[in-house]
């Protein structure tokens, strides 16, 4: 009996557990020797990766000292733009919004959105090892959403005895960040517990509201540019090396977030009767089996939940169910109560194998199953909806001399849109210090359950009603890119030309008021400013050029990243039977970031580092509520590694962001170029304790080409 149980347990463990992205590497001497995974799903050195990949290295992250993922992506790559708002950060990558960006954390999809925006606070900036960015469509490998690109955030992994880490950061506007790690590693079992807390009091760039010219101006509003918010998270990960060739993992997390909104004296502008509350949870398990040949099989299963609530701060009549269970729009709630707006849950299972084939080939094959569930009692006529997707994919990498060819194909089946085939083709030619990469890939995005079914009201200056559209088609894209990279001594220059055409792009389009359900029209009356519905646009394209220049010489390094973007989008205007041109909200022609940093060890007990960083964006265009102003900001950071006893190390980071105190003071209700509050300062104290032997992980990167097929 006991033996049977043992076998069962062992079988279960082998079948379900591994660690998909635990790759640490010993070769991180400089950026180009970074091991990357995102472009092909297989490990490559950055210098030789066949799909152009940008890396934000651990060293850069440390020197930059970002308080959030938004800050570090926006500050270190010209391709990104952010607008922090009530409903999460509105992120853009080369002109396309968060909807089209696949965000992975250790290879796993970040889950949950509000208004299509992911909550990036789910990622603890202090816990990031490095970030890999692959621009362009990658649906052949990753499935839905990978249209603008993929951001893979690789978290830190502890592999030495006992590790304790605490980082406390304080900054302007009540900015407090806590990061704690407790980790231990024995011969077989590793455990890592993380806790993070992020808080900001928020800020107000202007007290002026946008008012029509006929109205008395409002100049003492209490509306904030960014609201006060607090979030916390606990993560736990167990990893077990069951046998030298089998690794398993089991993990989970819980997360909570509150956004607190002011209550001023102008009912029209700055009086809010509820705050926003989020509750997330996740659980994941899986396994990785490395055969004697070096082939790899992984299975990953994960479940994630993202729930969003309105937490009432005063008596509020809102959507709810009366005594007979009928949906009414004036159900009373009292201060302290909260009501569920949406609960998104996703379960995924992913089986993948990477196998070496003769003639320098490497085959990746995988199968994926995904189940989505949305509960939104007051915003869905059926209260809950579900969606299922299944996929099979294949990818072959072929190395022949100077040439590397990668071809991939994915077959998807979805409840809503049926079958879809998504190919990808990329090639790299290496000639000494020069790499030429080109790719054609398709992307797609399944309409989300919210886009299909959800209807809700958002209170801004006026009321906007959003309507789902069950007739939406999947969005599809074709991405073409040509990229050249030249590396000479400490200099690395890349230039990428891209063209991304998205067909059936889903966007919100303003529709006549009588499209809104009658009860909403009656309830909101003249306050119903706009009715907007998700609709497939006829087509949209983005094209542009990304330039990057990096130079390292001894302790000095400098870099420049520039992005030129041109967008063109059309929407079918049924009233006039023609296509009309619309802008892609938030797009800007020119964006750039630049930096210079220097590090020096003054003594055994003290190492100093400093960096200066800049970013700029030209005007950002929007369909309604004005354009966002151009801006430029500068940042100065310092790092101080002080002393180092055998087990304990101390580090202080301090800096000034937005040195020249630029703030966009456009009135509330209109778009801003950037939400920065002006000059801010910060300081971080990090204490690290580490004791014990470094564990040799079996997935350490091996650059031997014939064995270069490990995957995460």
């Amino acid at each position: 009996m006991r033996q049977t149980i043992n076998r069962f347990v062992a079988g279960l463990v082998v079948a379900t557990m591994s660690l998909p992205l635990m790759a640490q590497n010993d070769l991180k001497l400089d950026t180009l020797q970074q091991v990357v995974i995102t472009g092909t799903g297989t490990q490559h050195l950055l210098s030789d990766v066949p799909v152009h990949t940008e890396v934000i290295s651990e060293k850069t992250l440390k020197q930059f000292g970002a308080s959030s993922v938004e800050e570090l992506l926006g500050g270190l790559s010209a391709s990104f733009a952010f607008n922090e708002g009530d409903m999460g950060s509105q992120m853009q990558m080369n002109g396309l919004g968060n909807n089209y960006i696949l965000i992975l954390v250790d290879g796993r999809r970040l889950h949950g959105d509000v208004g299509g925006e992911n909550d990036l606070s789910l990622i603890d900036p202090q816990n990031i090892d490095h970030i890999e960015i692959v621009k362009g469509a990658a649906s052949a490998l990753y499935g839905s959403d990978a249209i603008a690109g993929v951001i893979n955030i690789i978290t830190k992994k502890h592999d030495e005895g006992i590790g304790l880490e605490n980082a406390t950061r304080v900054g302007s506007y009540g900015d407090i960040r806590q990061h704690n790690t407790l980790a231990f590693a024995t011969g077989l079992l590793r455990s890592q517990t993380n806790f993070q807390l992020q808080h900001s009091d928020g800020w107000q760039n202007t007290a002026t509201e946008y008012t029509p010219s006929s109205a008395t101006p409002v100049t003492d509003s209490r509306s904030k540019t960014v609201n006060r918010h607090t979030n916390w998270q606990v993560r736990q990960l167990f990893t077990l090396d069951l046998r030298p060739d089998i690794e398993m993992y089991l993990g989970g997390s819980i997360y909570g977030k509150g956004i607190y909104r002011p209550k001023g004296k102008y009912p029209k502008y700055d009086v809010k009767t509820y705050d926003l509350t989020y509750r997330n949870a996740s659980a994941e398990t899986g396994g990785k089996w490395t055969t004697k040949r070096g082939d790899i099989v992984t299975l990953d299963i994960d479940w994630a939940r993202h729930a969003y609530y309105h937490s009432f701060t005063s008596t509020t009549l809102a959507e709810g169910f009366d005594n007979q269970g009928r949906l009414i729009l004036d159900y009373p709630y009292f201060a302290g109560q909260r009501t569920l707006q949406s609960d998104q849950q996703r379960t995924m299972a992913h089986l993948k194998a990477v196998v070496a084939l003769p003639y320098g080939q490497r085959l990746t094959a995988g199968a994926e199953w995904r189940h989505d569930y949305l509960k939104a009692p007051t915003s869905l006529t059926s209260k809950t909806v579900t969606d299922n997707t299944q996929a099979l994919y294949l990818q072959d990498e072929w190395n022949k001399g100077l040439l590397n060819l990668t071809a991939g194909l994915r077959l998807n089946h979805n409840d809503g849109f049926g079958w879809k085939l998504t190919p990808k083709l990329s090639a790299m030619i290496s000639m000494g210090d020069f790499r030429l990469r080109t790719s054609w890939s398709q992307g797609f995005k399944t309409p989300t359950l919210k886009e299909l079914n959800y209807r809700y009201i958002r209170e801004m200056n006026s009321i906007i009603m959003y309507l789902g559209n069950p007739d939406l088609k999947a969005q599809a894209s074709n991405y073409y890119s040509l990229s050249g990279e030249w590396t000479y001594r400490g200099l690395n220059v890349t230039a990428t030309l891209y063209y991304n055409k998205v067909s059936d792009m889903i966007t919100l389009v303003t529709v006549p008021h009588d499209e809104a359900p009658a009860e909403y029209r009656q309830q909101y009356g003249e306050m119903l400013g706009k009715v907007r519905r998700y609709q497939n646009m006829e087509d949209a394209r983005t094209c542009g050029i990304d330039l990057s220049l990096k130079y390292t010489h001894g302790p000095l390094s400098a870099g420049l990243s520039y992005s030129y973007l041109d967008t063109d989008a059309h929407v079918y205007d049924a009233d006039h039977d023609r296509l009309s041109r619309v802008v892609i909200d938030g797009s800007a022609y020119h964006k750039a970031t630049w930096y210079a940093s220097w590090q020096h060890r003054f003594s055994k007990a003290y190492q100093f580092g400093t960096g200066i960083y800049g970013r700029m964006s030209s005007k950002r265009y929007y369909q309604i509520d004005g354009d966002g102003r151009h801006y430029q900001t500068w940042r100065l950071t310092t790092t101080h590694d002080i002393g180092r006893s055998r087990h304990v190390s101390y580090r202080i980071e301090a800096g000034i962001d937005n040195i020249f105190n630029y703030a966009d003071r456009t009135p509330h209700g209109l778009h801003l170029g950037t939400t920065t509050p002006g000059r801010t300062v910060y300081a971080t104290l990090q204490i690290k304790f580490q004791k014990g032997k470094k564990i040799k992980l079996n997935n350490t990167f091996n650059s031997n080409q014939t064995k270069d097929y490990e995957e995460d």
Partner: protein, 379 residues
């Protein structure tokens, strides 16, 4: 082996923990009590304010504009003066307006409960005479909601009002009203005669503008798809009545089919008004979003090459009346398109003494409602 067991236990523990987290956030605990608790709050408000046995309930859609609150407050105070034997209450039918008015900080909190809650509370404290005064301009869609709230009260839909008290509202067999009365004060232009009376009052307030150029009124109107009680005709009748006084008067709407700003302009051209000054004033009880944005706002869809684009319904969207007439060659006196000071015309009807007086006349003429044999369609 022990490690495997430990791992298995840990895995189960984590799944269970995850499951609890997933299921613990339930928000459906207070379904019954919340509505009752809210009703009790309204009842307490009424008990605190009750001085007489007669009540007047003024029912408006509501607003979040300070200017509108001032107009409502003024109306309330004037009513209290004009109807000394009555307790006067203000009611909004818009939930969001009620929410915002009750929640601000550093400002007077106002409780404009919905009519159904006020009426239920009136029943609980047993007012003997209740006059519900509609603050609407036409007997349209919003007015129908006022009537429905009265019918619900009359039918004791919550079932918790005193039977003896409710019985006194009933008509006897000969059709005579009972001891208690529930009356309905009609909207400003309930009848065509009302429209003619209103025309005279408006002319008193706006004649100096009509003498200088076109004087336009912007009403709301029922949309074509549901022209409740066919009430849109009152705007046409008002324009006819006004034009007999001065042909420079026009009455358009934001929602009534074939009477948008585009058709107003067509009628102006027919009347030979192709240039000159254009004044606009809202034909609405208060100056809110429609007055500030749709009439006097800055939205402008004018295209330098193609001009304005008229949609299928014959309206130019995303363009205020001010910008529309401005682009079509009319003079827009800036002073008139503001909401404060001398010559400001962005004002609601309730800001004018003589219009408030017309509403009060309707209150005095309020009729007893026979809610059992209603002339109005069922909810």
């Amino acid at each position: 082996m022990k490690k495997i067991k430990f791992l298995l236990v840990a895995m189960m523990a984590m799944m269970v923990a995850g499951g609890f987290t997933a299921c613990s956030d339930d928000d459906d605990d207070n379904v019954v009590s919340n509505m009752e608790r809210y009703q009790n709050q309204v009842e307490q408000t009424v008990r605190a304010q009750k001085k007489h046995n007669k009540a007047i309930l003024l029912v408006a859609f509501g607003s979040t504009w300070q200017q509108a609150y001032d107009a409502f407050d003024k109306t309330h105070d004037e009513y209290a003066k004009a109807f000394p034997g009555y307790d006067v209450y203000l009611s909004f039918s818009s939930a969001i307006c009620i929410n915002r008015a009750a929640a601000g900080e550093n400002t007077a909190k106002r409780n404009f409960y919905e009519p159904k809650y006020w009426l239920e509370a009136f029943g609980r404290v047993q007012y003997q005479e209740i006059i519900v005064q509609s603050m609407q301009v036409i007997p349209g869609e919003e007015f129908s909601r006022v009537v429905n709230a009265m019918k619900d009260f009359g039918n004791n839909v919550n079932g918790d009002l005193d039977d003896n008290y409710m019985k006194k509202f009933e008509f006897d067999e000969e059709g005579n009203p009972g001891e208690n009365v529930l009356k309905l004060g009609m909207p400003l232009m309930y009848t065509e005669e009302n429209a003619r009376t209103l025309a005279v009052a408006l002319n008193n307030n706006f004649k100096q503008y009509a003498q200088q150029g076109a004087m336009l009124f912007m009403g709301h109107g029922n949309p074509d798809s549901y022209d409740t009680y066919k009430a849109n005709v009152r705007y046409t009748q008002l324009e006819e009545a006004l034009q007999t006084i001065n042909p420079n008067y026009f009455v358009g709407t934001v929602d009534m089919m074939d009477n948008f700003k585009v058709q107003v302009r067509d009628r102006m051209v027919e009347a030979g008004l192709t240039a000159g000054k254009v004044f606009c004033a809202p034909l609405m009880s208060i100056a809110g979003d429609h007055a500030h944005n749709d009439m006097a706002g800055d939205d402008d869809a004018w295209d330098e090459e193609e001009g304005f684009e008229v949609n299928d319904e014959g309206e130019v969207e995303d363009t205020s009346w001010k910008m529309y007439f401005s682009h079509l060659g009319y003079e827009i006196p800036a002073r008139a398109y503001t909401d404060q000071g001398e010559g400001a015309l962005v004002k609601g009807l309730l800001e004018y003494d003589n219009i408030r007086a017309l509403y009060m006349n309707h209150t005095r003429e309020a009729e007893v409602v026979d809610y059992y044999h209603s002339m109005y369609p069922e909810e």
